[in-house]
Symmetry: C2
Subunit: 226 residues, 2 copies
């Protein structure tokens, strides 16, 4: 199917190329295409310049947030949490209306240094903020609890025997996202409930960050034994 | 060894009886012993009256927080999070000084209904609040990420193949607590780092609560695949 992926960082690239590899038609959206393609230095996270990456993935389209949203039947929010609402507003309500949005972003607040804390938590979540701002969008929070490479290919770790969560108000949308997750290789997809349960997966991030520190790399994930 | 366990709810009872079963000399501490022993109705969580429970565990001592603290070489905070600092102050600085304290409490805030949120998070934690209030106490946050029965006997689930975390500033104290956890049956004990990493395990609680809701029972835990 046609997918619009917002965000050109690691998550957007890895999810975009995984979707393309699985036969989907992918357009990656960004704020300013010309600026992005003009960059020849690694980004602040150390990623190779987007233009070099795209050279390896010639089938993947690139456009503004609005163009990617208009092109996609299924949308993926892979922007950083602090910029997610702005990116979705730039995408335009008419382009996101009624579509499924897989929200991978986490509300990380780096203003106090590393590890980041969360800029929304406890009684609200970024997933809920997005759902409230775009009431017709079928938001499904998912994949925000592991690193990008595992999101796209869980078989890279422990034979894929670990867990991923979905949260959202629309059962059909969660079922569709679950199918996509299964196509990525996810075996254990746990439906936590409505979009308020995104508080649970977003608030797991502080534990993820300490595990990352303690284990020394990001190739780990939790499996829910039950 | 001599253990003082603060709290007479499920966690205090289960941890206390497990320690006693393993040969330790246990004193459970409470605010007001006479009131506790006079109760003949189940408590607000549905636990049988303490006096009936204690009839089944005659070797376990009961005393005030101060008496349990004075009696214990190793201390366990199994009070509810909202009452933990008060309980420790009642225990008395002279009785807790320099001792290891396993802090199991979570900063749950039930004021907004179920599921609870956290009354401290992001840039602080209950574990850190306790450490700051009692600088000489060797606080080790542990066991706050699963239900009481699994805390005390992880073999009840998945052959014990799941994870528990320790956070604390004192490496020797963490090593001693790790030994105790291993005596309970824990195989995978992950040292997250200093007491600030308690933010990670405490902030996992909102995910635990949603998993509890989704799975319909508390007999589950996370295993860190890596």
């Amino acid at each position: 199917m046609k997918c619009g992926v917002f965000g050109t960082g690691t998550v957007g690239r890895v999810i975009g190329s995984r979707l393309a590899e699985l036969g989907h038609e992918v357009t990656i959206g960004t704020r300013d295409v010309d600026t992005l393609l003009a960059r020849t230095e690694p980004d602040t996270m150390g990623n190779e310049p987007f233009v070099s990456w795209r050279g390896m993935h010639p089938k993947i389209g690139i456009g503004t947030f609005a163009e990617a949203a208009a092109a996609g039947e299924l949308l993926v929010n892979a922007t950083n949490g602090a910029g997610s609402l702005e990116a979705l507003h730039a995408a335009g309500e008419e382009n996101v209306d009624n579509k499924i949005l897989i929200d991978i972003a986490n509300p990380l607040d780096f203003s106090g240094g590393m590890p980041p804390s969360l800029f929304v938590s406890n009684t609200d979540s970024l997933g809920e903020q997005i759902q409230r701002a775009f009431p017709t969008v079928r938001v499904v929070k998912a994949l925000n609890t592991m690193n990008a490479f595992l999101m796209a290919d869980p078989s890279l770790l422990a034979g894929g025997e670990h867990s991923v969560f979905v949260s959202g108000n629309d059962g059909q949308a969660k079922a569709r996202v679950t199918e996509i997750l299964r196509s990525f290789g996810w075996k254990d997809v746990i439906d936590l409930g409505d979009i308020t349960t995104a508080r649970g997966t977003e608030m797991y991030l502080p534990l993820w960050l300490r595990l990352w520190g303690a284990l020394g790399n990001g190739t780990f994930n939790i499996s829910v034994a039950r």
